[in-house]
């Protein structure tokens, strides 16, 4: 078995048994990146020399019998996470020259485990997009078919894992940005409960929705990473003081008696027949494993996309006000006064989708429209969260498709923003309610992967991971590698 197709646990065992070194593993993956990056454009920066140094340090620790289960294992960080001394762009011209002065908590925690950063993943600009086409550095291409999008916003992270360029890539999910690319690239994407993973040093888009998480091949790999990544952070004012269970130890919980809620609204109009077929087949696997299926209805779920496209732009317009061309980021040449400096620096620094969202947010927060749009959307958010809570009175987890379709062609949905926004129709609800949710590979249509979405109660990460793991022990969809990347 080649190094790049090993699971995290297999890599950890191999490193500890000295079957291969972190330097060898890191070099092998950097070579794969060099080979495949020209087609995929999955990374914005590759940090080869510092990766080799970190790998040598990890080998030293391992040689002395030290380190933990992640020591010496390579990773890629989404370029939304600040990395000390390394360019952090958020895929925007605005931050093209920005070198982060500190590490995000997620970055610091995984560095402390001895993980080796290979580079920074491409993404939609400021995480605003569902196809990776809004990146200032050009779109990422789907490893299953280079004419198709990988999904977004964490499209680079998903492509990196699907192409086996790294066993793990960090990611963020505001409206589906981990789960949607996971589904479209055939990998496992995990978005924890809001507040479970620190947002410190994670460049803010919509602060009441943003949550960091993982893209890996399997749920077992996600459990290993999340155990190190999650936890209270005093530097994030919305970080939750809630003990982190041993997600790895909890993986093998039996499914007997598990009550699975089928979200009725997810199987109505818009869902491609092949997606439905694969999801239903996955549900049959769960039934065979002892779970019980119960149909549940969330009548207001259909309003989650409109509610999101008020709340998220409102928060984005406020968060992105900090980019003013004064303290960091892009600055326009020869400003005639301060107002001209602000306006042109922002006008030149932001791409069209980011500007569209800032303007939408500015509008819905402006006098006269605040109640009609912003307050109304917050009330609908409450309705949807209440409906999820009621559903969890009946069932343990909710399941349905992650996306309505498989990956689509580059450029096919860029003309109309609403067409693009509707890609996240099944994923946004979990963000509005702050619930943990994941996407796991559950089949193929015309050689393209599809995802099963699993949503859990607040802080039920352990249960979600064990539910996904049980399926992945019965099926091999998650182990399929795109042709040309074996």
């Amino acid at each position: 078995m080649s190094l790049h197709t090993k699971s995290l646990a297999q890599l950890a065992d191999g490193l500890r048994a000295h079957e291969f070194s972190s330097v060898e593993l890191t070099r092998a993956l950097l070579e794969r990146i060099e080979t495949h990056q020209p087609q995929l454009n999955a990374l914005i920066s590759v940090t080869g020399p510092s990766a080799m140094q970190a790998a040598a340090v990890a080998d030293g620790v391992l040689a002395r019998g030290g380190g933990g289960p992640l020591t010496g294992i390579p990773l890629v960080h989404k370029d939304i996470f600040c990395t000390e001394g390394v360019r952090t762009t958020c895929a925007s011209r605005m931050l093209d020259n920005f070198v982060a002065p500190y590490d995000a908590t997620v970055v610091a925690k995984l560095k402390a485990e001895g993980m080796v950063m290979l580079g920074k993943a491409n993404m939609d600009e400021f995480a605003m997009g569902s196809s990776n086409e809004t990146s200032y550095y050009g779109p990422v291409r789907n490893p299953w078919n280079h004419k198709l999008v990988p999904g977004g916003s964490s499209g680079g992270s998903a492509a990196v894992v699907a192409a086996r360029l790294a066993p793990f890539a960090s990611a963020t999910d505001t409206g589906g940005s981990i789960r949607q690319p996971a589904a479209l690239c055939g990998v496992t994407g995990f978005k924890p409960t809001y507040g479970r993973v620190s947002r410190y040093g994670m460049i803010a888009f919509a602060s009441s929705l943003d949550q960091g998480g993982t893209l890996t091949v399997s749920a077992a790999d996600a459990a290993l990473i999340l155990r190190a990544m999650a936890g209270f952070d005093p530097r994030d004012s919305t970080s939750v003081e809630h003990a982190v269970p041993d997600y790895v130890a909890g993986l093998d919980q039996p499914l007997t008696g598990l009550k699975i809620g089928l979200l009725k609204e997810f199987f109505e109009k818009g869902l491609e027949p092949d997606n439905e077929r694969c999801v239903r087949a996955a549900l049959a696997v769960y039934e065979k494993l002892g779970a019980k299926l119960i149909e549940v209805s969330l009548p207001n779920l259909g309003l989650s996309v409109p509610a999101y496209y008020v709340v998220a732009p409102a928060e984005c317009s406020s968060n992105l006000a900090r980019f003013d061309g004064v303290r960091f980021g892009h600055r326009a040449k020869d400003p005639k006064d301060l107002l001209d400096l602000y306006k042109r620096s922002r006008g030149e620094g932001f791409g069209a989708e980011v500007k569209r969202r800032i303007m939408t947010g500015t509008y819905v927060l402006s006098a006269g429209y605040y109640d009609a749009f912003y307050i109304k959307a917050q009330k609908v958010r409450r309705l949807i969260a209440n409906e999820f809570e009621r559903a969890f009175g009946q069932v343990d987890v909710l399941m349905g498709p992650t996306t309505p379709t498989a990956a689509f062609e580059l450029g096919s949905k860029t003309a109309d923003p609403i067409t693009m926004y509707l890609n996240d129709i099944y994923t946004i609800g979990a963000n509005l309610a702050g619930l943990p949710a994941m996407s796991i590979p559950c089949g193929f249509t015309q050689n393209l992967p599809l995802g099963l979405q699993i949503i859990g109660r607040h802080f039920a990460e352990e249960r979600l991971l064990s539910v996904a793991h049980a399926y992945q022990r019965e099926t091999d969809w998650h182990t399929r590698v795109p042709p040309g990347y074996e």
Binding site: S237, T238, L303, A307, V326, G329, H330, R356, T360
Partner: protein, 94 residues
Amino acid sequence: MKPEQIAAIAHLARLSMDEAELPRYQESLARILSFVGDLEQAQTQDVSPMSHPLPGLVQRLRADAVTETDAHELYQANAPQVAASLYLVPKVIE
């Protein structure tokens, strides 16, 4: 939405926008606002607005103690224009 309204929003958002760009945003903002207009259908009497996804969570305060060290040189390394440890902007007082 009229072009003047788009220009006014762009001004409030501090985004430069030339005449040629206005129709593009005019069209897409109109699409977005009509789409989110569906929210009107929802019955929200007696529903309180939800600004945070976790119930019962309050903003934490930290102890009033100095925790930051002086790192202005590090931070200002990212600034477009600095002189004598000060961020430079165009003159604002005549």
